[in-house]
Amino acid sequence: MEILEIFLTASFWTAAIRIASPLILATMGELICERAGVLNLGIEGIMVAGAFVGWFGAYIGMGLWGGVLLAFVVGMLLGLLHASMTVSLGLSQHVVGLGITLLATSLTYYAYRVALPEVTSPPKIEAFQPISVAILAYIPILGPALAEQTPLTYLAIATVLITSFVLYRTPLGLALRAVGENPSSVAAQGLSVLGLRIGAVVVGSGLMALGGAFLTLSAFDSFFFGMVNGRGWVCIALVVFGAWKPHKAFLGAILFAAFDAFQIRLQQSTIGADIPYQIFLMMPYFLSIAALVVMSRKAEVPAALMVPFYKGER
């Protein structure tokens, strides 16, 4: 019964939501890109860049929010690079995406070394502290866990609501969804297919960088190599898991984070003593694959995902 009790503690859910926050931000970013028809495999590298730049901004005295803003801008620039190749030139989205990931990761490590040539242990900053939003505690079940989080977590949750609202309630969102389904439908209305797609990739990449910045500004208080650790790839899976719908992808992120928080606690429990800890580390990934198989079989993939658009073609 020890295992079940883990799920009932508020601290467990507080941890789960904290772990979910960077995933939520980056997943929304990826979802926006894919809804517009562009697969952005640059996500992992953009998160690495966001993690470093956000931290660096705070480190050089721009303040925490200054770091957040800087990360967002750098993410958008990397997104612009991605879009100029995949959207404007119609190059392979796989190759460009992986290229951006490699480029952004290497550039980040290089920049870190150039900026801090002397250090051996990563310098620390004063990270975001949890703020108490007492009203949220009244929400059933998740309320107490929601009430004690850092501002970036609230930003992440707001991002889900805003993404959902924009996609389904505004003309811009309708155009974005249409451009991912059939670009000709958008072109026939005299709207710019390229403009919409570039915009989606730029903003989406900005959000990915925010997801990275969460790691250095909220979850930890310094930057170190390998800290993103495949979270970007998890987000790609979460978009599929969520069937390209913001609220479902949000729930997927929470679910994944809950598995993750659970395995950490299992490792610390009495059961954990006898089993190699790598088994526990593997668990969230294993369970997400299983969930993916169950959940996403009937999902409607945006019909024009990964299909470049050239003007005047049949």
Binding site: R169, T170, P171, L172, L174, A175, R177, A178, E181, N182, S184, S185, V186, A187, A188, Q189, G190, L191, E300, P302, A303, K311, G312, R314
Partner: protein, 511 residues
Amino acid sequence: MGEVVLRLEGITKNFGALKANENVSLNLEKGEVLALLGENGAGKTTLMNILFGQYTADSGRVEVFGKTLPPGMARAALDAGVGMVHQHFTLAHNLSVLENVILGTSSLWSWKLQYKQARQQLLELANRYHLKINPDAKVSALSVGERQRVEILKALFRQAKILILDEPTAVLTPQETESLFKTLTEATEQGLSIIFISHKLHEVMKIAQKVAILRHGKLIATKETRETSPNELAALMVGNPIRPPAVTERDSGPVVMELLNVSTESQHHSKGLKNVSMRLCSGEIVGLAGVSGNGQTSIADLVAGLITPSQGKLHLDGKPIDQWSPRQSVLSGIARIPEDRHHAGTIADFSLTENSIIERYRDQPFARHGWVNWQAAEGFTQELIRQYDVRCPGPDTRIRLLSGGNMQKLILGRVLQNDPRVILAHQPSRGLDIGAVHYVHKKLLEARQKGATILLISEDLDEILQLSDIIHVASAGRVSPPFQRGKVTPTELGGWMSGAAFAKQETLHAP
């Protein structure tokens, strides 16, 4: 003389060496239906794409309600009140009808989609023009006819005063066409002006008041439908008087292929065959009539080696076939003109050259020691383009850029250039204009003259009656006994099509 709402002046457009439009000028008057008539590749669609800003003209001017449109801007034509229903619909399938209709109607930066208001407006329009539609249905769930309705409503929702319809009847059933015409007539009564692009003469005569005829990118003539005839239009469209190719009598040769009491399993989209017997002789066209979906696809697949009989035998040159596959079929000299030229006949993103050798890339002269000889392949393609008059920029063009007729000419060339023993012609002239249809018929008759065996599968009874030496009818997986040319009436064939004659035959032969 009504008010001129749309004026095209001296439009010229070249694609490389191809003159798609050459100095075309047109006037559209308020409340009239102007038909734009021309063969495939005559430049009809290009002209409309220029008007609609999808292409930029090399020279010329577009004027709507007295104002010149800036070139290359779809928005400008839309805002001026021009709506276009493309041949390939521009709908997002995963979105609802309402979402498709309101897409792009309000500023991208406005806060809210006016769903409620838009729904009201859409329903009013649907009511006014008798276009029944469910605003909340997903487009993917709609029939082709319904999707077209959505496209028309989309244009009307944008307060289009001029409606352009590009080959709107190509995808419709006769009943759907009928109801479209009613809609269009009502629309013109309410002050809309319509450009109706088509190559179907009887439709043009029925719906339009004025006809503009394009040929090879040039405007040949503009006629009042009252003062012309289908024959005159056809002649203008093709460039010379139309004469269907003559069929000469010919004795048929030895039996080449024979189906003996063949049954097949039903495939997921085609009916299985029930105890079918047919005999295909050299120098003979065997026509298989019947409404689509009655086993024709199974017969075609059987001959092409895509399926094998579950019962019965398939004989080639009097010998039973043991191993039967598409490769075997090609090696036995069976060439096919597939039913669906876009999916089964060609690979859209391959070049003309690649498509030309796709069935023979392993054979001489296209393959040498396991390498493709591209020089030979391109030479062969050049030859096809020249001999079969395929209108295209060159052999490197991706085949998706060709019109249906030109695509079919290439397929025909690919088939005939090999001097095949058996030609499987499945709906060879569907969707083609008269000129192209006659061309296909002429080529099939020439092949027959040379001694080829031709299995002609068609829904068009006139085509079957005109070309076939022997006629069979398919109905519900069964095939009628053979009828000689001239020994059977369309009414009798109709009895076999409906299946009534099969029932009668069974009672006759019952013990």
